[in-house]
Symmetry: D2
Subunit: 412 residues, 4 copies
């Protein structure tokens, strides 16, 4: 017999090793569309708060693929029939689930036409890749879109307990050093079941599910919705909005050709069809395009753009206050007035520096989606019913907060 050597293996500080399960996955990973994810940080500007948070969407996609193959291995060992083609397709589906993400999370969406988001762009990328790969992604796409007969495969890709969440919680927790988010992916996956074509978790794993829901909530407040993180993201969005505004007025700004395309054109979903310019240009964008341009804009002629860019690059972030109720309009106006004077800004400009908004989170939404728990007697109940230890219902109430941002400075 000819010796088969170990397939390509990626080192991963979290799982140790990630093996590529098949040739199609390998080809997708090698494709420039996917390699681009190496240069897109999973957590955008969060590293300004947690300096270790430099993990990429590339590594996350590989990690989620790893968990997918573990999960399918567990389900097969419990007697569920999953063909080799379905295994491969499920791995491809999860590998591609974030392919449409732009640089710095959702910030770039502010440069695009209304209604475009990373989901719709992902769909364009998948379709283009499938054409190029002559239909090899057909099953993967049907799993991704939920049209494949085995619904539970779709749930592994996208549900309250999908391998996407399992990987990103663990990975983000690891890289930020916020140990509260560490979850036992091994344990959860080993407890997976399928009942009536739906994913379920054996009751033995109930504590790990509780821990998962709590970890998710703690990660939201300590990382994803950390107030300094919110402050940096809002700053970034204001920078891009200002640049787009200036570009719209014909002001010449430094930019890479790909970023220039999105600054100086009104790009809509039509531009993203197979072979069209939008997709091609988008595929060339990554975090470097955004950051480098902002760095150069520090020295540009527009006072607003130059100031905002300096704040971002040198981490002179806006102050942010959070509270349960909306901010008093009079207070906000008074702040605006103060900064208009001290910074010598006009009415149009002040909104880039002093502004309010709202953030929300709920760790588990039993209305939209369920986490099925399989009892020993074969019955399936929702986790909120099965968990008598901890008030999981409390976890499912959305928590909402209002924020107010403004520059540091004289008023402190």
């Amino acid at each position: 017999m000819k010796t088969k050597f170990t397939l390509k293996i990626f080192n991963d500080p979290i799982y140790g090793f990630i093996s590529i399960p098949n040739q199609t996955c390998f080809d997708v990973i090698e494709h420039p569309y996917f390699q681009r994810l190496r240069r897109i940080k999973q957590l955008g500007a969060t590293h300004l708060v947690y300096p270790g948070a430099l993990n990429t969407r590339f590594h996350h996609a590989l990690g989620a693929m790893h968990l997918m193959s573990l999960a399918i291995g567990v389900l097969r060992s419990k007697g569920h029939d999953i063909s080799e083609d379905e295994l491969n397709a499920a791995c491809l589906a999860i590998l591609l689930h974030d392919i449409g993400h732009g640089p710095y999370s959702h910030s770039l969406e502010y440069l695009l036409a209304e209604g475009m988001n990373h989901e719709s762009i992902s769909a364009c990328f998948m379709s283009a890749l499938n054409t190029e790969m002559k239909g090899k992604l057909d099953i993967a796409l049907s799993i991704f879109n939920g049209t494949h007969p085995k619904k539970f495969l779709h749930q592994l890709v996208s549900s309250q307990l999908d391998v996407d969440r399992l990987d990103y919680l663990k990975r983000d927790s690891f890289y930020t050093g916020v140990s509260e988010g560490v979850i036992s992916t091994d344990r959860i996956i080993s407890m997976l079941q399928v009942v009536d074509d739906s994913l379920a978790v054996e009751i033995k794993g109930i504590y790990s599910i509780e821990k998962f829901l709590i970890a998710r909530r703690l990660m939201y407040w300590q990382v994803y919705l950390h107030k300094t993180v919110i402050s940096s993201e809002k700053l970034l969005i204001n920078i891009l909005k200002r640049a787009k505004y200036l570009a719209g007025r014909g002001v010449e700004l430094f930019a890479s050709p790909a970023l220039r395309y999105f600054l100086y054109n009104n790009v809509s979903v039509d531009d993203f069809s197979d072979g069209n310019e939008g997709l091609k240009q988008f595929a060339k964008l990554d975090d470097n395009d955004i950051f480098l341009s902002i760095k150069v804009w520090m020295d540009c002629g527009d006072k607003v753009l130059s100031k905002l860019s300096g704040n971002f690059v040198n981490r002179d972030l806006f102050k942010i206050r959070l509270q349960a109720e909306a901010f008093d309009e009079a207070e906000v106006n008074s702040l605006k007035k103060k900064f208009k004077e001290s910074m010598n800004l006009d009415d149009d400009e002040i909104g880039y520096f002093v502004f309010t908004g709202r953030i929300a989170n709920n760790a588990y939404n039993p209305k939209i989606d369920r986490i099925n728990i399989l009892l020993r007697d074969g019955k399936v109940v929702d986790v909120t019913e099965a968990a008598d230890q901890l008030n999981v219902t409390a976890l499912s109430e959305p928590v909402e907060k209002h924020f107010l941002c403004h520059p540091k400075m004289s008023i402190e």
Copy 2:
């Protein structure tokens, strides 16, 4: 008494927390010169091989400062007199030890005048910062330069067993996922002593020192000198050499203003004095400038630059072979001939694609430097004498290898 709140704390996945020990350290960290290190990866292009290796020089400098304050705490607890000013200065010295590093490790040095390197640039940065901070870095600089009376403080900053090495080995090991490099920094630091103004390690810690030397060697061959890493670095250098060559001939290339300065001028050490343009421009450079330009150069008019850039961006890296002896000249020439034809290159161009070189490593050099071991009877000996378990001498012989790089393609 007024309650003193916890000072600024950085989350760190490795040590859990890093506290800023004093206000001057805090001010240095906030300075744009230091913030720049957030955008310079410790390991350059290594993440093309180990996708987790995105850790920055910023985080490393903080980590080394953390170990410094631990080490000084240990030495004080053993009765060695170290003043508060000296503690602060030692922390500052290690914080600043890499301040002159350019993007992608040493690759940028190929754009500078002969003899400039990150050490000389670091000296320029420190001097400029000290001027700006009105002499607050005086003691730190004397420790860094080895002119401070307590030599052992300099050894903590720079020697065979400095906190720089202790942190980077552990950090690089953590982020690459190459667990072989994990070292017990806690144990080593707890065993530190000072004898006759020199750092020493108590004999009880001998196994940890052996482990440290071995770990360092394994990290060299598995990470720092990994053949694919070498291949990517050589590719990067060739790209920058080609760009510099083209710039010298007046060809117009995309670049950020800061990178443009180094491409289109012959910058020498004089340009880096306090207040001069070189330092200012260098302070604006980071990994983004290099990578984004290379990405844009993929579409430039020069065939060589365009091809090399594509190889780098899409990770189509050169094949590399390693061997103990130099490569046979006839073999290299035959390879060159083959690729000249298949790629339609001329004599000047082929050297960017097919080339040879040499790499070397020795984990411990007892000729240059020693690791002192303090025996129970008070005598001090070199680690090579104290370690009877493992042939540390074997570790101190340099290992040298020759490499040959060439594109993938038809010949495979």
Copy 3:
């Protein structure tokens, strides 16, 4: 200066190293009373469920001492005045806090006179040690008893957030492999404060406190009150009760001399005064005495003792059912009847094999004790008020369960 060498250091898989802070601590650790804790498992028979749970009270006491010295270091760095004597005494107090624990947790208390427990026995040990050490434990005892002027030192030893809990949660989590209990002791300790002589936690650490409360609850249900753990503990108690009953009737049983003392005498608190026989004999007992006797009792003449012992040694544990409400008496009686027949037992004997009981837990009891949170404005509030993210109140409601145990066998 004479070189001071590193003091005695214990390896610890959890903190890496534990240093002995002073000579008195060292002397206490060397004392046979304390060395005895090496042979008393922290978690009794839990290793029958979690095979790694072999950690001892000895290691826990060292770990808690380690956290105590860290905590005092943090409080000092924030300007709180704690003398060297107080540091030493606090370390001694926590080192000794569990000195009175008998083998297999509380099971031995069933052999003692009413009202004796590990707290009262600890007091006897401490008093005897202090006499022997000529008053060197005076301050430690006053801290332990809460009579020392600085109340917060007592709170570090015993309160809702003492170093005892911090260490055992982390340690038990580590050895059982139940990762849900891992807590950031570093983070919690770094956030400690003292306000008006009471321990408090800075508001920045609120999420870690929430995590701590949740982790504690999850550890209760997954480990401390795991149903199979409960089942083994109840079995052990029944074994000791039966042996005591037989001894009371003059039946001769195998036992070490120390265990014999407690089996064949009615030992009360008077026997534990300084120099009295009870304390001396108790000081000779550890897990080995209990387990080995049970193993030999497998072959003894009493059917009940022999059967129960076999169940324990060969891990043929009783079935246990948990439910929210009390078990129906008729159901219990019917079970008893069944087993009386199948096992040929009489009315007195069946109660060792079929029995019911009640277990309860509340993670945080705001009525008895508080966890103070120090807000940024200097005000102090209870954690239930400060935590808006998670319904900590839910965590403070006691959860109670009823259990029913019976042998496996024909009825399954």
Copy 4:
């Protein structure tokens, strides 16, 4: 389809979870012979030096079984044919490999007839179990004994790179907290191959093998042959020798019935055949029998046994010196004379307190056994040839040391 629930799972702090692969393994684990291993510490008295080292042979056997099933999974995925029966048998073989170990490692062998050791006792246990299980262990025994046609399965059980070593190095490292022994079992296992019916490691894994050899050596010197560990083991052996000597003279000593059997009889290999008394009694022995007896012997009438027992129980261990050459006879005699006088001992007794000996270790013995490395061209070479980075040959030279033990006391 009927839902198959997750099989029995053991929590393991090292691998997270260990699943029982099949029913026969489950039955063996439940057997009292195997449950006994729960009460035999892997590292004997090492916990006197490393307090965490309480891990058992039970947990190790489960861990090795886990690695076996991973290894076989990897080999199957590379196209090597291994039947389900062979998988089960290999798991059984490794599960049983240490079944004959007595309490406190090899110390008990001093009570048995010449030539009996844990290997021969293991064979007796396996044979007895196979009889009881009606031949279900046939293939497992043939793999264990090396008579099964596929030799590489035997190598997984017993060779320089077997799963036994892989698990115990990692496990002992984990529990002692000596991080130098941590090895990448994942990586090594993922690189396994079979060539010509022999185990081999793909060249890509060469660094991990080097690390494994180094880790093994460091663990030898830091743990297995740590001088205080040696000192406690020698003390233990002297205690048992003295007890056996006294028993031979008819002195009545406290002991459990099982230990009594070995003290008061001359037990030889014949007593261990199927159904014979020796095996039955041995199967009842564990660490508790030994330790409890020693504790009681502290108060026995024989001065030598009483003194030695006190030293062990209260951790008043003998001083031990190590050196490369043998100790000078005159020096040893002078020491003996000194202690004979100060302790009032006669010529026969002094040898229990002052004695010399020899310990040795070689991490890798290329003469006896090889670690095959599979090169990319399909050739197989020994690791000493393949490893050019580190002088593995140095690792294969045995290191030998002489020791001298004597009580602490007046002479210090």
